[in-house]
Amino acid sequence: VVVAPSRAGLDEEEEAREETPEDREIRREIEKKREVDVLWTGSCAQQPLVCSRFIVAIGRNAAAFLSSFILDSVCWEVVGVVKLWNEWCRTSNTTNVLPTDSFCLFYRLISDPTVLLCQCSCYVAEDQQFQWLEKVFGSMQKKGLQVTILSTCPVADYKTQESTLTLVSPFLKALKTKEFQEPVCCPLLEQPNIVRDLPAAVLSYCQVWQIPAVLYQCYTDVIKLDTVTIEAFKPLLSSKVLKSLAKDASESTKVLKKFLTTSETHNNIYI
């Protein structure tokens, strides 16, 4: 008999079993190992950070979008890193990362130090998301802050009256908090669709603490790094937040190409 997972959110075994001192010890050790550390470097070591715009890219495609269309080593400096460990990935406290690594880095715009950017290509587990929020936002001043989140998820998760086969993917959908008053660059996500994981955690945090925030979710049918998905975020370059940050278009194409060659070579090992 296949037992369906409890929709009350708790499985029988978990409920029935009392925790022994040994279990508790093991659980504590695991919790310690799974702790999330945010390390700020240089000028950002002083807290709280004054931040006007915070742009968070979650997942490889969103992070690659920022790398190709916004970030460069001339205008931006690395100011922080998240160190974490879980069943899917581990990141170290080094800020020198390869594009193929899993990482979570913070950048700051040199010409305007109140603009912060986060690239998070690593998996942040359910039990680590709350810590991530508390530690990242805990070091920021919330007054005058505006948050933009970029993320991707499979188009199969999208619920619509239509068949997903007839949907043209990738496409963007947005969700915003009550305080976010600016126009959004794409249609809002319709009910009964929901967003989970870290993007949802960040947006929930902003809603609860009344921070203006918007989430752009890209529904795509390719999970790995892919130019079509990366370019699906392009309409955002016309938004108020990103407009002034976008770099030269020819430069972007070059970086984008380089990105894919790196990841292709990496993947070819298994062919």
């Binding site: 369906a4 409890s6 929709r7 009350a8 959110g9 708790l10 029988e12 978990e14 409920e15 659980r27 359910e126 039990d127 998301q129 709350f130 810590q131 999208y158 619920k159 619509t160 009256q161 239509e162 068949s163 997903t164 086969l165 007839t166 969700l175 915003k176 908090t177 009550k178 809002l188 996500l189 319709e190 009910q191 009964p192 669709n193 929901i194 967003v195 989970r196 994981d197 870290l198 993007p199 949802a200 955690a201 947006l203 929930s204 809603q207 609860v208 989430l215």
Partner: protein, 224 residues
């Protein structure tokens, strides 16, 4: 009912979406999160809706936080709406109504009589060691999540709590939701029955827009 707050916690899986109770275009873009609080002052009613499952090993701290919030916000009574697996009923539970209630000792004194009047059935205790001894009986709510923990904790902490539950099967639970809400209404009379000869009592309840597409997306046209 209006939304008055959030239950901000590290115990639930994060989730966001637009207003699940949208009735028109204008109110459809209100963001909703995993646990929200609604209130209806005219009925002295506060509703906490939990929309996502627990993070592993976090249900105990959640129950503690929830009950301490109940105490600090001075809620006189708590009604917990829940369910239990229909397929794990015993012979006795298979007969008659699929609805059950439980009252903590402190609430039993106040409303126990009313439940008898309504002819409601209390949740049966089951044998702890079936087939071996029938004298040791325990409360068992399979599939009820934190229901049992919240109830037992409330009993020992002197919180006035009632659990109303229905035995449910996997699948479309919309009819179960109606049955449970009618059960609640029978006791608390939150809405008056519009006409006594109404054949379908569920006709007075509104279905939230978020209950659409329960069985997935439309079918590909090429199928036909």
């Amino acid at each position: 009912m209006t939304k008055v707050g959030y239950f901000y916690t590290d115990c639930l899986v994060p989730m966001v979406g637009n207003n699940p109770y949208a009735t028109a275009e204008e109110n459809s873009t209100e963001l909703s999160i995993n646990a929200e609080v609604y209130s209806l002052p005219s009925k002295k009613l506060v509703v906490l809706q939990i929309r996502s499952p627990f993070i592993k090993n976090k249900y105990r701290p959640f129950c503690e936080t929830l009950l301490s919030w109940v105490k600090s916000s001075k809620c006189a009574r708590v009604v917990l709406l829940s369910s239990s697996h229909a397929y794990q009923r015993d012979d006795e539970q298979l007969l008659g109504t699929p609805l059950r209630y439980l009252l903590t000792p402190d609430l039993e004194k106040a409303v126990g009589g009313r439940m008898k009047e309504l002819n409601w059935k209390e949740m049966e205790k089951v044998a702890a060691y079936p087939g071996i001894s029938d004298t040791d009986k325990v409360l068992h709510i399979p599939g009820g999540g934190i229901t049992k923990l919240l109830f037992t904790e409330s009993c020992s902490e002197g919180i006035q709590m009632a659990v109303l539950l229905k035995f449910c099967s996997e699948g479309d639970n919309i009819p179960d939701a109606f049955v449970l809400v009618n059960y609640l209404n029978e006791w608390l009379q939150l809405i008056k029955s519009e006409s006594n000869n109404s054949t379908d009592p569920s006709s007075q309840w509104k279905i939230p827009s978020s209950w659409r597409l329960l069985f997935g997306n439309g079918l590909p046209p090429a199928l036909f």
